[in-house]
């Protein structure tokens, strides 16, 4: 291992990350509030009525960002889990577990809002098509990750087992994303493609982007706060914790 990498490890130690996360979290929380407020305004007062679905399509502005976040967060979580497995850094595993509950929440929200959108438009709350089923599997992956981590007492073994599960589950992400192309599904195809532009009016697209940014900021703020809890739970006895806490109280 090179010297630079070792220094980097030291920088990414829980003791130095704890105060850093504490300083960053409020900024991300503020950004989240601003973006989500702007997104709501766009969603209800700027985005035009849809020619076919009327006002009902406005569910899209929380459904699509939530579904995107459910997949993004999983990839980031699996990335941290991989880092934790390969380099054996504790902070990476902690970041992975700090992200999991929020990822599970957005997956649940994607399914919930999807059901409420599907009922009036498709005529059903739920169908076992490939898109919906693979998103449900994603929810189970998050829950499996969290319960596996909680079920094993030894924190290092818990991190290794849950990290491996997180990595294996990554195969589900391209399946979710491509499901509407690979199979006949009731769910429609993607409105936004990397290759051929969008099939969506511009302000609708802007609303989706702003809302997604808001959810991202929210996720970062929550994950940073949660990783601080994880650090405190793991290292509560260390002497640096007492000092860091006293310093934060004094601020």
């Amino acid at each position: 291992m090179s010297r630079r990498l070792i220094n980097w490890f030291r920088f990414a130690s829980p003791a130095s990350f704890y105060p850093l996360a504490g300083r960053l979290a409020p900024w991300f929380a503020a950004a989240a509030a601003i973006f989500i407020a702007a997104g709501l305004f766009l969603a209800f007062f700027v985005a035009p009525t849809d020619y076919k679905q009327g006002e009902g399509y406005r569910i899209m502005f929380v459904h699509v960002p939530a579904a995107w976040m459910s997949m993004f967060i999983y990839l980031v979580m699996a990335g941290y889990a991989a880092l934790g497995l390969v380099l054996n850094t504790r902070l990476s595993s902690m970041m992975a577990s700090a992200l999991a509950p929020t990822g599970a929440l957005f997956t649940f929200l994607a399914l919930w809002t999807g059901a409420l959108w599907g009922k009036p438009m498709w005529g059903t709350w739920w169908v076992w098509d490939a898109r919906l089923t693979s998103e449900l599997i994603l929810l189970f992956l998050y829950l499996g990750f969290m319960s596996l981590k909680a079920a094993i007492d030894d924190p290092r073994r818990a991190a290794r087992a849950s990290g491996l599960l997180a990595l294996v589950g990554v195969v589900n992400i391209p399946i979710i994303y491509k499901s509407v192309e690979w199979w006949n599904t009731l769910h429609q195809g993607a409105s936004i493609r990397f290759s051929s532009g969008t099939t969506m009016e511009e302000t609708m697209l802007l609303t989706l982007v702003v809302m997604t940014l808001g959810f991202w900021m929210y996720t970062i703020a929550v994950a940073l706060t949660r990783v601080r809890c994880e650090i405190l739970e793991a290292e509560g006895r260390a002497s640096w914790v007492a000092e860091a806490l006293a310093r934060e109280r004094g601020r």
Partner: protein, 78 residues
């Protein structure tokens, strides 16, 4: 920027007949995000209380720490 003309608050709330579905979606998002934040802050509060008790019992370490041996921790703070 052209704003949507809802006409009345009642029309806005009715969401073109999709009130149940639209507000059911946005309501669930708002409720669960708020719940997550509340649970997280509660977790942090109880954790800090427990750690504070523990550190006090071990001899008041940390109170008024001047960062003399803090090393790289929290440089630039205070």
């Amino acid at each position: 920027m052209k704003l949507v003309s809802w006409g009345s608050v009642a029309a806005f709330l009715a969401m073109g007949g999709y009130a149940l579905y639209v507000w059911g979606s946005y309501g669930m998002v708002a409720a669960t995000l708020a719940l997550e934040v509340a649970l997280l802050l509660r977790r942090r509060r109880t954790l800090l209380r427990r750690l504070g008790r523990m550190h006090r019992m071990r001899g008041g370490a940390g109170h008024g720490a001047g960062g003399v041996e803090g090393g790289f921790i929290g440089q630039g703070e205070r």
